[in-house]
Symmetry: C2
Subunit: 385 residues, 2 copies
Amino acid sequence: MGTAPASAGAGEGGGVGRIRAVYELSGSVEEEARRGARRIAYEQTVELPPGLVPPAIDDRVVGRIESLEASGQDRWRATLTYPAAAASRDLTELLNLLWGNVSLMSGIRLAEVELPPSLLDALGGPAFGIQGIRRRCGAKVRALFCGVLKPLGSSPAELAETATRLALGGADLIKDDHSLTDQSWAPFRERLRRCRAAVGDANARTGGTSLYLPNVSGDPAGLGERLDMAAEEGCAGVLLNAFATGPGTLRQVASRGDLFVLAHPTLAGGFLGREHGVAPDVLLGTLLRAGGADGVIYPNEGGRFAFDQEACRSINRALRRPMGECRPAFPVPAGGIDVERISHWTRAYGRDTIFLVGGSLYAERDLTDATRRLIDELERETYGA
Amino acid sequence: MGTAPASAGAGEGGGVGRIRAVYELSGSVEEEARRGARRIAYEQTVELPPGLVPPAIDDRVVGRIESLEASGQDRWRATLTYPAAAASRDLTELLNLLWGNVSLMSGIRLAEVELPPSLLDALGGPAFGIQGIRRRCGAKVRALFCGVLKPLGSSPAELAETATRLALGGADLIKDDHSLTDQSWAPFRERLRRCRAAVGDANARTGGTSLYLPNVSGDPAGLGERLDMAAEEGCAGVLLNAFATGPGTLRQVASRGDLFVLAHPTLAGGFLGREHGVAPDVLLGTLLRAGGADGVIYPNEGGRFAFDQEACRSINRALRRPMGECRPAFPVPAGGIDVERISHWTRAYGRDTIFLVGGSLYAERDLTDATRRLIDELERETYGA
């Protein structure tokens, strides 16, 4: 990759340095690709044709084409940089800057993103990250297991009973299914209280440290109140459908400092098209982590969605790699994982992973026993038999 | 279209009746298409394989396949219904129910959605709608014109100067460019005050009724405060990047009852794939309107994005058609519109339309004069020469 590094300077007030974004786009000749890149540079900032932009703004605000190189048959890699100040210290606006109106075009792929330190500092990253979650858990070294409360339509008592069984088996984390929000079958407050109490009681019986993570997704105006309730009930973390509730709500959780947050990828599919879309490691790795996710759930290869091995591994890397002062975040692969295959996945993905096992665990006769066997496998993988 | 109407019943508490959703999907034989439809029905509700779902929940919560019919070569239309209660009285969860995890699959198109009256009532729809916006404007019958303050990088004084010129020309609405949020070049509060004052001063000089719509998009935690500021400054409405800030934030504006809201489609592109995506009229019409948008901006055919005539007209219909007690909302086509073509578009789209003209107006020598000519054309189209 021959590209210009993000250079310093030009940021005023809200951010120093430049955001580097690599777009893949089509063009039968270089000039056509350059026109496409220039169109992105103007569309994503000033939304005016070049001739109508005042020179000072053209110079300091419009995206710059740092390099353009052929990457295949009629395909090109254009490296653009934007002033960090354009992102307004905000994941919502950063996404809009990188992919907002471009999302309405076609045949463009946002392949790479590098954020300058000033913007990473402003976005803040995870409040807990991998080590912070481990401090709240019993497991300091091995991979973690997250169980799921389901299905939608169950009563709070039924969900609490499932939580008890998962906690008695030693599940590290127990999260609500992402579809459980505030439906009348199990309203948020009652579900939170019952499930939190059930996990607390089970921990008291076993000496365990299972953590219940309520799903706080839903009506954005009520999010603050739901987070307060979760904290008041003593929850250590929450689940958030970040693309439904708005990616910027990750910061609303992270800035509290009292709850860690796992991001769920529901609704993200539209962003992830191969021909036209954002690379999975950019969207679910770099951007969600920068925005405050302590862990990111993604569809594991071999599961029921269309992520391949390279996508999964690239997300893992993006969540864990050095990135300014941002804490590393946990990859949370989901799908295609069960008691028999958990060792394989631990070896493949490493110990700084949370394995989410939902439906396949429900297929086991005894949920507590199945959970115990999963945890045993994770222990064995780390400490030997 | 041979499909079952949304039938009453089965809703408990949070919603009576059923949500009807038509998905187009692939299958070389009917049984394959039926498997696909069944997968959606379970994935979008209980996220468990059929055999693991308790019978009572299977009956009342899992999506029902009401009909399945061939629609073309290896393509099928599956009509599903979901209990309204699953949407939790909430646009955020409704989107998740209709398209959440399905977004991560491939080759599926959400083609039609009908919401039962109970859910429409809960979602609330626009607080103002077409008639409500007209009451705040001078124009009671003709189509409206919305100008745009740009570009990003301008100072509040520069944007206010542009606002003055648009208001002196008689622009009905004057909105911030969707990229203007809280950047240091023009922080939200100062931009709001300056531009609102500029438009107020111009109105005082001309006797006009131009309305300034600040862009309140950005950090979700600060949205309530930005809305308060807009209301305190006397704004009649706001602009919201609904897919960036979270679609549910439309309700946060609408439920106040003191500000109308135009929704901007930035970031929506990923939802709109033709092979795999949501139909434009469902996403930008039915759903945003139900969620509270008084007007919806969309990329007009002939503009710089890839919407065709049928997409534009279907959005117009979805925003204006009878839909329970929901007020009709304004279509706001943007792109490919200028002084010369405004009469054509008025005839094509009808008077209950807001025409958004951004960049092309900046190409005119005199912004005030160009605005006046646009308004003259709209008047002539309605009242004759």
